[in-house]
């Protein structure tokens, strides 16, 4: 199944038919937004477009197709494989990752229990963020991640949302895992809490993560990192979007037991990260040896700067 079919099958029949007729270059398609009684919107090549009932992509919302409640309901049935119960934990966090690693954000009426979000009902807003595997996007970064003996540095990839940090992480994992003529490949353990890195389907990664990569899918990062160290003895552990106190404790553990760590985090600069109460501590203690800063100043995935452990630009 190609990328287009894989993506379109999650939409209600009517939306599926409409979207299939729009002439997209799916590599440039970034988001599809559905809102009850709202227009069908796509973010394409960093610009917002509306989709009309006769499958045209226009810039003004006048002719845009208005999405009905039933279409959102049907779409949710497909997104959840007719089994919302199987995604309870994901729904609590507000998103589900679907086949292909695409992230589906969902919002509706929150159901609370003891002041914690128990579920979301009457789902009325859906945002599908497409995941793109870009092989080779890590080429520029890779030389900064390896020392003279081809050992990997503890690395933190910092980037605002939608700037390509997961895509970069994925390619770095693949390249480190495969190795090349000059450099042997290394065993990598990936804790893929949201199934975005490997996009596993029934435990099998749909994205290429290299030949020496073990993927622990849908597992909380903190628990997963410790589990991987004990079970798979990786040389490098890779995780996406760290941040919680538990994650940081696990990161310290990983760093102290001889494994190298590559992680990503939301932020605009090293200062941003320093100001975070828990993660900032790791930066102050100079545990990370490389910081990769991304932005979308010159397009998604633009490499802004690379810093060493002391925060000096390399």
């Amino acid at each position: 199944m190609n990328k287009k079919d894989e993506l379109l099958k999650i939409f209600s029949l009517k939306l599926r038919t409409m979207l299939s007729k729009v002439e997209f270059n799916y590599d440039k398609l970034q988001e599809i937004r559905l809102r009850v009684n709202g227009p069908l919107i796509v973010i394409y090549d960093n610009k917002e477009f509306f989709i009309t009932g006769d499958s045209r992509m226009v810039e003004k919302d006048e002719d845009a197709y208005i999405i009905l409640k039933n279409e959102i309901r049907e779409t949710m049935e497909y997104i959840s494989n007719f089994s919302l119960y199987a995604f309870e934990e994901e729904i609590k966090q507000g998103f589900i990752t679907i086949t292909g690693g695409h992230r589906v954000g969902i919002v509706g009426k929150a159901v609370l229990d003891d002041n914690k979000i128990k579920s979301i009902k009457h789902i009325s807003f859906i945002n599908i963020r497409l995941s793109h595997q870009i092989k080779g996007c890590g080429d520029k970064v890779l030389p900064y991640l390896l020392d003279e003996y081809n050992n990997c540095y503890h690395t933190l990839i910092i980037s605002p949302p939608r700037c390509g940090k997961t895509t970069l992480l994925r390619d770095v994992i693949r390249q480190l895992s495969n190795g090349d003529e000059k450099r042997p490949g290394m065993t990598i353990g990936v804790v893929d809490e949201r199934s975005e890195i490997g996009a596993c389907y029934m435990g099998i990664p749909q994205n290429d993560l290299g030949i020496r990569t073990d993927v622990l899918d849908c597992c909380p990062k903190a628990k997963g990192m410790l589990m991987l160290i004990r079970s798979m003895s990786p040389r490098v552990i890779a995780v996406d979007e760290v941040g919680s106190g538990e994650d940081i404790d696990a990161i310290e553990y990983v760093m102290n037991c001889g494994c190298k760590l590559i992680a990503t985090v939301h932020g605009n600069s090293i200062e941003d990260i320093k100001s975070k109460p828990i993660l900032g501590k790791l930066v102050e203690e100079k545990l990370f040896e490389r910081y990769i800063l991304l932005s979308n100043a010159k397009g998604v995935g633009h490499l802004e700067d690379v810093y060493d452990a002391n925060g000096n630009r390399i």
């Binding site: 029949l13 049907e74 049935e77 959840s80 494989n81 007719f82 919302l84 119960y85 199987a86």
Partner: protein, 174 residues
């Protein structure tokens, strides 16, 4: 002429006895089908409870493991669920119950129960799925118990009725 009458009598008795045996056999088959269905539901419950497996995957896994009369039923449901063809789960389930279980000995009442069970699957959270499955399994158990208690008597009744019915028809016709 007498010879033809004797042959006719034998045919009537044979066919009526056969009918008795058929109904008695159907009763036993129904119990065994209900037990098979119960076993499948146990597996489905396990898959949902321990692995949080979505319905298409869970039904497909069942269809692969199972080699009995329900294989076609499960395969059709799994395939249609994976198709995502604009039909809701409960309709897919209902249609499969109506079309794919003709080879079983389940009664109309059993099929209605199975159809209604599908209406509540996939709805709400995991607890709801487990409760729905538990409720249906307990209903099946009751049905199986009732049938098992009476199976000997009913089989005897069907067999006797078959033979006696045949004799009765012969007497009337002679």
């Amino acid at each position: 002429m007498v010879f033809i009458k004797i042959i006719g009598c034998i045919l009537i008795i044979t066919s009526s006895t056969g009918m008795g045996w058929y109904f008695s056999g159907e009763l036993k088959n129904r119990i065994s089908d209900l037990k098979e269905l119960k076993k499948l539901l146990f597996l489905l419950r396990g898959d949902i409870r321990y692995a949080n497996t979505p319905l298409p995957e869970a039904v497909q896994a069942l269809s692969i493991r199972h080699n009995g009369k329900f294989k076609q039923f499960l395969t059709v449901i799994a395939n249609r669920l994976f198709e995502l063809g604009g039909v809701s789960f409960c309709n897919i389930w209902k249609e499969a119950v109506e079309k794919e279980l003709e080879n079983t000995s389940l009664s109309k009442k059993d099929l209605i129960g199975l159809s209604q069970f599908g209406e509540n699957l996939g709805y709400l959270d995991k607890d709801m799925q487990i409760n729905t499955l538990d409720l249906y399994i307990s209903q099946l158990e009751e049905e199986i118990n009732d049938l098992s208690q009476n199976v000997k008597q009913k089989s005897y009744l069907y067999n006797s009725l078959g033979i006696m019915g045949g004799i009765f028809i012969i007497i009337v016709m002679l």
